[in-house]
């Protein structure tokens, strides 16, 4: 199989169009049993009662938020190094999904925090680094939005994303250390030591659903970015005429 064939926007566009519905379907297919297990099968937590069920959304979202940043930086870096337009478009398409995941993790976390800690927000290491991750996404998107020339936006965004990827672990550990230096036990997560097997299963299935959704959403977004940037190219014109 010739991979390079698909690195051109013109060939990738229809491919992405064909793949996206499948990933959406997979997301829906795993979300239904995942949510069922989470809300009806998994046992009630003996310490936190029903509110712990947020975990099935919260944790997959938190995982995705961090993972997507790395993938985004990877594509941006590839675009910068090899001048491949499609990889840069991939990076731009991933950013909003990543920010959304970060936001969901923060939102569900603080919804959960109110019953467990009695506050919407505490300055715990994990929460803080997640918040900074959100700012990093925003910075990336704001920079790209402020630049009109797409080629320049791609390159400048790539430099920033790479700088961010170097920084994310540094931020993560520095915040952790900052926190443990001051922090008493007030903010430790109270959870049962061993996770019930059904809980684990529910979480893994939900994680799969989040994966599928993220891929599908990014594919759709990359399609619209391709259309916008290549609207003068012959193939878009032909495609548009054909669609008419």
């Amino acid at each position: 199989m010739n991979w390079f064939k698909y690195s051109s926007p013109a060939t990738f566009y229809p491919l992405a169009g064909k793949m996206a519905p499948w990933f959406f379907a997979a997301a829906a297919l795993s979300a239904v049993p995942g949510l069922y297990i989470s809300f009806f099968v998994a046992p009630t937590d003996f310490q936190q009662g029903e509110s712990y069920r947020i975990i099935f959304i919260h944790v997959p979202a938190a995982w995705m938020s961090m993972f997507i940043y790395v993938v985004m930086a990877f594509w941006a870096g590839v675009g910068l190094a090899f001048n491949t337009r499609l990889s840069s478009m991939m990076a731009s398409a991933l950013a909003p999904t990543g920010a959304l995941m970060t936001f969901i993790a923060l939102w569900t976390g603080s919804l959960w925090g109110k019953p467990t800690w009695g506050a919407w927000w505490v300055w715990d290491a994990r929460l803080t680094s997640e918040l900074i991750l959100l700012f990093l996404y925003f910075g990336f998107m704001a920079l790209q939005a402020a630049i009109d020339d797409p080629r320049r936006a791609d390159k400048a965004g790539a430099v920033l994303a790479l700088l961010g990827v170097v920084n994310v672990p540094i931020i993560y550990f520095s915040v952790q250390w900052w926190n443990t230096l001051h922090q008493g036990a007030s903010v430790s997560l109270t959870r049962s030591p061993t996770m019930a097997a059904t809980m684990l299963a529910g979480m893994l299935i939900m994680a799969l659903a989040f994966w599928m959704y993220s891929i599908a959403a990014s594919l759709l977004r990359v399609r619209s970015i391709i259309l916008e940037r290549e609207r003068a190219a012959d193939w878009v014109r032909e495609w548009r005429e054909a669609a008419r």
Binding site: S110, W120, W123, D124, F135, A145, Q183
Partner: protein, 222 residues
Amino acid sequence: MLAALRTVIRRDLLLAMRNKSDAANTLLFFVIVSSLFPLGVGPEPALLRTIAPGVVWVAALLASMLALARLFAADYADGTLEQLALAPQPLAAFVAAKILAHWLVSGLPLVLIAPLLGLQFDLSGTALLTLMASLLIGTPVLSLLGAVGAALTLGLRASGVLVPLIVLPLTVPVLVFGAGAVEAASSGLGAQAHLSLLGAFLLISAALSPWAAAVGIRIALE
């Protein structure tokens, strides 16, 4: 004349839209600055709750100043300000229109997002409401005062740093009463007195600032 003013407001809003990020950035700066404090100060919730009103207000102050420093700069550099000065309407009216547009784009969003930041610092419901009210009355004062600073430093190379420098001392009363209102509310006292004083500042500065800024601009153009 009203038509001309509407044109200025519409133009500035249009420019803000073209540069979609512009308004969002002030807001994000506000959010980031107030989130930096806990990192510097440490995560103790009780401590954070005590300093919250001050921190949020200082962050609002800094965010407004930043955006304001360049309020007239672009118009000055490209010659538009010269054209405004030669327009058949009084310059002060244009200045007022520009300030209004600027506040709509960068001040109002601060007011709207403030409760979220207050939640981060675990403020109570009344305190949150008072925070919004004090920002709603206070941020226009900041915009008005900042505009005067921006006009006086027009065309100077260092204006990015000069504006905060000459404006911040003027805004001290706003800060004191703004943060004071929130503190009063969260310790159960009424914030009425503080808020009325803020309102008085707003009236005074709305009456004086556009004229002062217009004079500053004419001086810079001469």
